[in-house]
């Protein structure tokens, strides 16, 4: 038993932190936030590829470093902490994991090397409107290898080259890989609560779609991809939430009211203690999820759901109370609190709302109870 990262993994994490402190300060995030025409930080994306991050968990035979998911978790925490405005989650947690999970040998050989090299940006296109997609509600359909329908919101939809799309074929839900630069695809940028990340609507009118995984397995595979992504996003969320706590602590130590630091008042001290509590609970659940993901353990669905629920809760509390701790100045455009508050919302929805994960968690417990 060992409930911590190894020294090598910690070293990778520390290096990533130093790199991102240098290459991804808040001004880089704002450069995307303040400029709607910029969808992501291309330079940082290239640098991430050069660091080997994109291929960290891709097997060596497919051009990756062949490290484990634990290394990916360590990187995710740092990317979340730095609010990296790049399509890392869409490309790695969604697309690469989908191909690793369900891709044929041909598909792996074709796409994974490009992903590792930073030549391919991914996206997951499952949602078609308010609420979760269901077998009954799913409209997008594939007939004769051609996809028709609309998907929104699609994170990184403006910049992705290859999307994993949930659609029906012969009335059966399936996953499909769709090249977004081919004919029959149109994109429209969407305005969201977190303009530091890109979101689009994709409309397909006879776009070429190749099946990913078996016919009829669409929702099952989607859920397995989401389980994997939930753990990885949980680390991004824990990274962000921890940064919020640090910001709050630094401010509470330096800001004075009534002649003493605001961090000497219990209202602030206990608020920060609660942040710490939630962050620790989220971190511990994320570690368990990381173990389950890395080990391919049957506990993954439960562990992933718990990691996601705890991470969403912690980041929400930390990002909103970070603003509150800063007082008025924390609510201004210039101060960075808002960046975390917005990203907290983005991460809470990108892999499905926590509400749905709570339901999934309890369903898993029921199954376990019965078994």
């Amino acid at each position: 038993m060992n409930f911590d990262f190894s020294d090598e993994q910690k070293q990778l994490k520390n290096e990533a932190r130093r790199f991102l402190q240098r290459e991804c300060g808040p001004e880089r995030v704002r450069a995307i936030l303040d400029h709607p025409e910029k969808a992501y930080d291309k330079e940082l994306w290239t640098a991430a590829a050069a660091q080997g991050w994109l291929g960290a968990a891709i097997p060596e035979q497919h051009g990756g470093l062949g490290l484990g998911r634990l290394e990916l978790c360590a990187l995710a925490e740092e990317l979340g902490r730095a609010l990296a405005p790049i399509p890392f989650g869409s490309t790695i947690y969604f697309l690469a994991e989908a191909i690793l999970l369900a891709g044929s040998e041909t598909q792996r050989a074709k796409y994974l090397p490009k992903i590792a090299a930073g030549e391919l940006i991914g996206a997951l296109a499952s949602s078609e409107g308010p609420g979760e997609p269901t077998v009954a509600s799913l409209q997008a359909s594939v007939v004769g290898g051609k996809l028709t329908g609309a998907k929104l919101p699609v994170t990184d939809g403006d910049i992705a080259n290859l999307a994993v799309v949930l659609a029906k074929e012969n009335g059966q839900p399936g996953l499909f890989l769709v090249h977004l630069e081919g004919p029959g695809v149109s994109r429209k940028s969407l305005q969201t609560l977190d303009p530091s990340r890109d979101v689009a609507q994709l409309t397909f009118a006879g776009a070429a779609a190749e099946p990913l995984g078996g016919a009829g397995e669409g929702f099952e595979l989607l859920q397995q991809i989401l389980d994997r992504a939930a753990v990885l996003f949980a680390f991004e969320q824990v990274g962000g939430a921890d940064r919020c706590l640090e910001m709050s602590k630094d401010y509470a130590l330096s800001r004075y009211a009534f002649g003493r630091p605001i961090g000497s008042y219990q209202a602030i001290k206990h608020k920060l203690a609660d942040m710490f509590i939630k962050n620790e609970l989220a971190r511990s659940n994320a570690y368990y999820g990381a173990w389950a993901l890395n080990a391919g353990a049957p506990e993954l669905p439960t562990a992933a759901a718990a990691a996601r629920v705890a991470a969403c809760d912690a980041y929400w509390y930390a990002s909103k109370e970070n603003i509150q701790t800063h007082g008025g100045i924390g609510f201004t455009w210039e101060v960075d609190c808002q960046l975390y508050y917005r990203r907290c919302r983005q991460l809470a929805l990108v892999a499905g709302a926590p509400r749905a994960w709570k339901e999934r968690l309890v369903s898993q417990l029921e199954r376990r109870n019965v078994a």
Binding site: P130, G259, K320, G327, I329, T332
Partner: protein, 405 residues
């Protein structure tokens, strides 16, 4: 106890409603007005009309241009006016806080000069108390006023000044003595916001709005006759201003639990209407009970007022409860929509992205006008009589109090 109108109240309501129907503009203003000044001309015209008809500052005596009405009449009028698309927000701070301070501390001539124009919406006022280093501690003002013969020279900076960019006048709390403890070295003045030496910069908020400002003073000169109250008594005057703030009975802004329920009816979760989901239903009930509780608490306050009693700081509960419920409700609404909830394009998101905008606006509501923490302090100390915090800044000369690490 009676939550319905008496015959007199019903008659007043009928009269007010008839007047509103006849006089309120037919075209609605845009919803969620953020006092950006775009509708200022219409708002002024409306205020003038209201004042002439005796519907502005209904409880003010005839002497000052009001109709000498009751607090209940004031509430009835506000309830009816709320059904029309008119905006009286620009004048709230002036009429609710600044002018009452002027009335209490200025000489007769000054009062005569300012009360009428403010009432009619011709002149707008702002309140210049908060400072960057002060935050929740309004008595930490560092803006200096130095006497020079019959004048004062002002240097320093105010912040969070609501509506300063649209204001003609303001009341200014300035430090006139740094060698005495902080509460004793301040003095209050009224100032002309267009004087030389005043610079106003809007504050860009994270929600995108910019109704607050920073105001910089560089060698601004004012006359000693602009002083409100004795030299060194500024904090006592400020307390009168802030008491008036507390008396002004505000409404809860933003979307309410009924609108959340309406949204839930439009969203399907797992093949079933979200409105059937008991997790949402319990939360709606919890929020509704809090909103209703606030509404009835305000009514209890008004009953006190109408009986000639001074309501206590019980009203402080309103902001804490409303802002926190609004924030959680908005988060739940976003999450109800699943991935789609992140979209805040008003043409796509339900209720014109009302809940998404509320997610962005509510952190400010928990801070502006007193943070949650300060409001709880106020309740604990002024309502419950618990001891104040240990103060390290009380008997120390202002210049010796640490302000930043």
């Amino acid at each position: 106890m009676d939550f319905t109108d008496t015959p007199e109240e019903a008659a007043y309501r009928e009269k007010a409603r008839a007047w509103l129907i006849a006089n309120a503009p037919k075209q609605g203003l845009k919803p969620g007005r953020d006092h950006d000044g775009s509708d200022l001309a219409e708002a002024r015209a409306w205020q003038t009309k209201k004042a002439a008809a005796g519907y502005a500052q209904i409880t003010w005596p005839k002497e000052w241009g009001g109709p000498g009405g009751t607090p209940i009449q004031s509430v009835i009028y506000a309830q009816e006016e709320a059904k029309f698309a008119v905006n009286s927000g620009y004048f709230l701070i002036g009429l609710g806080m600044c002018i009452p301070t002027v009335m209490a501390f200025a000489d007769e001539e000054t009062k005569k000069r300012f009360v009428g124009p403010a009432l009619r919406g011709e002149e707008i006022w702002c309140q210049l108390f908060s400072e960057p280093s002060g935050g929740s501690d309004a008595a930490a003002a560092r803006t200096r006023a130095v006497r020079d013969g019959d004048e004062w020279v002002i240097n320093g900076q105010k912040i969070w000044t609501s509506g300063a960019h649209l204001s003609d006048y303001g009341i200014l709390l300035a430090r006139t003595d740094i060698d005495v403890p902080k509460h004793k070295g301040m003095t209050m003045f009224w100032i002309d916001m267009r004087s030389p030496g005043v610079e106003i910069r809007p504050i860009h908020q994270m929600s995108g709005a910019s109704g607050f400002n920073e105001v910089f003073f560089t060698d601004m000169r004012i006359k000693d006759s602009q002083r409100l109250g004795p030299v060194g008594d500024g904090w006592k005057v400020a307390i009168v201003t802030l008491m008036n703030e507390r008396l002004s009975v505000g409404d809860i802004r933003g979307l309410d639990p009924a609108q959340f329920l309406r949204l839930a009816r439009e969203v399907t979760i797992g093949g079933e209407s979200a409105a059937r989901n008991h997790a949402f239903r319990e939360k709606i009930a919890d929020w509704y009970v809090q909103f209703e509780g606030l509404k009835h608490t305000r009514m209890r306050t008004i009953t006190s007022l109408s009986r000639g009693q001074t309501p206590g700081p019980e009203n402080s509960i309103g902001k804490v409860v409303a802002a926190n419920v609004a924030q959680e409700m908005a988060r739940e609404a976003m999450e109800m929509l699943d991935q789609f909830g992140i979209i805040n394009d008003p043409s796509l998101a339900p209720l014109a992205a009302g809940f998404q905008n509320q997610v962005l606006a509510t952190p400010g509501n928990r801070i502006a006008g007193g943070t949650d923490e300060i409001m709880r302090n106020i309740i604990a100390e002024r309502v419950l009589g618990l001891p104040g915090d240990v103060r390290l800044d009380k008997d120390v000369a202002f210049k010796d109090i640490p302000s930043w690490r």
